[in-house]
């Protein structure tokens, strides 16, 4: 009998079941298929503009910083300005995310832009977030060719671009979007939920930023909350909000 069989048998013995009971199987299938939402705090259900304000406040509360620009084309200028303010070299690395690639980086003549995964020598990395959660000031970044995971952790300063309309109120809206992109039960290799810069309080219980991940997290919010054609996730979001309120 394999260890797997031994463990499962022991679990079944403890629960007093055989594992073949139809009702139990149905209950599990149903829960997995429905993935029903639980309780979503009121704070996670604000209308779009308030959501963005809350998101920025929560990022700040987690020791991150944010700025807002009107259009995506303003991002390279914003990044160059930020690096100057922080007294960092005009150099950064980004992934192949098409939204980042489409930005006019070349206009920032002094800025050296590298692409691809980080080997640890970069001082600044730029990623584009898949979405964000206003409820806790959290960014959601997905692994993939567009946004290397190493860029989220190795550079000293991490700059994350997020479209205002992609800032959801709660986590649940983003799980829905994720399922729309990858299909039911499938995931990218990694989903990073990031809330502020890295920290530790392990030395004498004093909180210090910059443990192993980035010392600094800066978020650039692009555009307006209701910009352009509303993406499908927002329709789902408002349906759920309506359902939760009734």
């Amino acid at each position: 009998m394999s260890s797997r069989d031994t463990v499962l048998a022991s679990v079944r013995r403890g629960l007093g079941v055989t594992g073949n009971e139809a009702a139990r199987r149905a209950a599990v299938q149903e829960r997995l298929a429905r993935h029903a939402r639980g309780l979503i705090p009121a704070r996670g259900q604000l209308p779009p503009e308030e959501r963005i304000a809350l998101f920025r406040n929560m990022v700040a509360a987690a020791a991150g910083t944010t700025t807002r620009v009107a259009i995506a084309a303003d991002v390279p200028k914003e990044v160059a300005a930020l690096l100057r303010t922080l007294n960092l070299p005009q150099a950064m690395r980004r992934g192949d995310d098409p939204r980042l690639a489409a930005m006019p980086w070349a206009e920032q003549k002094a800025l050296t832009v590298s692409t691809g995964a980080s080997d640890g020598s970069d001082l600044a990395g730029v990623s584009h977030a898949f979405g964000a959660i206003a409820e806790s000031g959290t960014l959601m970044l997905l692994s993939g060719p567009d946004n290397p995971t190493t860029l989220n952790f190795l550079p000293d300063t991490h700059i994350v671009v997020i479209s205002a309309e992609d800032i959801a109120g709660d986590y649940e809206s983003l799980w829905t979007r994720l399922r729309e992109r990858y299909g039911a039960g499938a995931m990218p290799r990694v989903v990073n939920l990031i809330t502020g810069p890295s920290r530790s309080a392990d030395i004498g219980q004093t909180l210090i930023l910059g443990a192993h991940g980035p010392r600094r997290l800066h978020v650039i919010v692009v555009g307006s909350a209701t910009g352009g054609n509303p993406p499908s996730f927002r329709r789902v979001n408002s349906r759920v909000i309506a359902r939760n309120r009734s």
Partner: protein
């Protein structure tokens, strides 16, 4: 390292109480977590309702654990990962060693994993020629001190800043001996630089898992430092160590639990890094491990199902119970002699290593109930501590003196008439002896009078006086 010393709890506790440096360290730490949890809970009106939701999710999952394990395994495998079951720690260690050997590993980086401590993995790997480097700063500190963790969230909470300075000087000999380490930021940077090198050169990265999601086959780690993420992203193999009760059905379900976890643990809304990992790198991924393995360890968990201790399997390892425990705050985590200290440790440890090896743990509690009050998944900890005491009583594991004292008391307590007669005599006798109103010393009560005076009875018992007054 974590070969249990729970049977020496009393001696451990005595040493802890006499250790001035330890008392200073845990004294400074104690109030912080309590206050921050209170603030975080206060800022979220839905906090208590979320605890109910979290409890319900865990209860449902445990009742269907076999099926969720199967569903989880299917999803992991479908996305290119591998699941390995281990009945006990020995099997789990062998699986990890085998995987490391297959990867040709000379060094392994580790994210903070209490399960790996439970398995005593590091010593085993070292014995087999593989260097295991702890990368969580707290775990790194205790590794260089050759100590076990004393808290499940803050493993080095028992270490003062001065002690860290001394340890860094002792171990980081490549750096100038007279360098200034007054600032904690300096020490953090020093550790960061040393460990950055280890991250980049490790062949295998081993992490734990706060949760395993059945719907997607994902493992979740919840950290603040980013070390767990570097541990699992940079090497060519990622091994996840998890016990079977970490299962949660869906992403929505895990969101309920995440909303109460960080708030209960450190008072943060969310930890800095909450990471969901699913399988190895995909075609086109610029980084990530080529192999992803999950070791699912039982080690006594399945035996808790259908027992009075089933509810303990709801635990999400937030540490709130020990933060609020007067006993833990007095003696620290090492006194408990095993990976899991405080209230949750006192319930879980006997289930893992046997009650006969952890007799003191369920008894070293005042049943103040603060643990249950703050538990995010509402585990009835005092009730389960009492259930262990019942088992000890049935198996005659309590000391003979305690048992006979209890038997004597029970004889009288079951006979109220005899009881009131005897207590009246005793009360009047002691009252006569205790003319100054209290005893500084009293035979048979030395446990009390060692540190406190003992108030003397006023005179005849209440019942005797009442009877006398009621006589016409």
């Amino acid at each position: 390292m974590t070969t249990a010393t729970s049977q020496r709890f009393k001696e451990n506790a005595r040493a802890a109480l006499a250790d001035a440096q330890l008392q200073r360290a845990i004294g400074d730490a104690g109030g912080g977590f309590v206050l921050r949890r209170q603030e975080a809970a206060g800022k979220l009106p839905e906090f208590d309702a979320l605890r109910d939701s979290a409890q319900a999710i865990k209860e449902h999952t445990l009742r269907h654990l076999d099926l969720y394990l199967e569903a989880y395994e299917e999803r992991v495998t479908a996305q290119g990962g591998h699941v390995h079951y281990a009945v006990n720690a020995e099997e789990a260690r062998a699986i990890v060693l085998d995987l490391c050997r297959k990867a040709g590993a000379r060094s392994v980086t580790k994210g903070k994993s209490m399960v790996s401590e439970e398995m005593e993995l590091n010593a085993f790997l070292e014995q087999n020629g593989i260097a295991a480097v702890e990368t969580d700063l707290g775990e790194y500190i205790i590794q260089i001190r050759h100590e076990a963790p004393s808290h499940i969230i803050a493993p080095a909470i028992h270490v003062t800043k001065e002690q860290v300075q001394a340890d860094f000087r002792r171990v980081h000999t490549h750096l100038p001996a007279d360098r200034n380490l007054d600032e904690s930021t300096t020490m953090l940077t020093e550790a960061r630089n040393i460990l950055r090198e280890k991250f980049l050169t490790a062949d295998v990265g081993i992490t734990g898992a706060n949760f395993l999601v059945a719907e997607t086959g994902s493992s979740i780690i919840v950290t603040n430092e980013g070390n767990g993420d570097l541990t699992q992203t940079l090497p060519k193999m990622h091994i996840v160590l998890a016990t079977i009760e970490k299962l949660v059905p869906t992403l929505e379900d895990v969101s309920q639990l995440l909303r109460v976890l960080a708030r209960s643990a450190t008072g943060q809304e969310m930890s800095v890094y909450t990471t969901l990992s699913t399988g190895p790198r995909r075609p086109g991924d610029p980084d990530g491990p080529a192999e992803y393995h999950v070791v699912l360890l039982d080690n006594g968990r399945s035996a808790m199902l259908g027992s009075p201790f089933q509810d303990m399997l709801r635990c999400i390892r937030c540490g709130a119970c020990m933060n609020h425990c007067p006993v833990y705050n007095a003696v620290g985590g090492h006194a408990y002699g095993f990976v899991y200290p405080g209230p949750m440790g006192s319930v879980l440890t006997p289930a893992i290593i046997g009650i006969e090896n952890a007799k003191h743990l369920p008894n070293a509690s005042t049943f103040c109930g603060r643990c249950e009050e703050v538990c995010p998944v509402r585990i009835p900890l005092p009730r389960m501590l009492r259930a262990w005491r019942e088992r000890e009583f049935e198996r005659h594991l309590s000391p003979a003196t305690v048992r006979s004292g209890l038997a004597l008391w029970s004889f009288f307590a079951k006979r109220p008439k005899l009881y009131s007669f005897a207590t009246n005599i005793a009360a009047q006798m002691l009252s006569a002896l205790g003319k100054r109103g209290r005893f500084r010393r009293l035979p048979l009560a030395s446990g009390w009078t060692r540190h406190r005076d003992l108030p003397a009875p006023q005179g005849a018992t209440f019942q005797a006086q009442w009877k006398a007054r009621s006589r016409p």
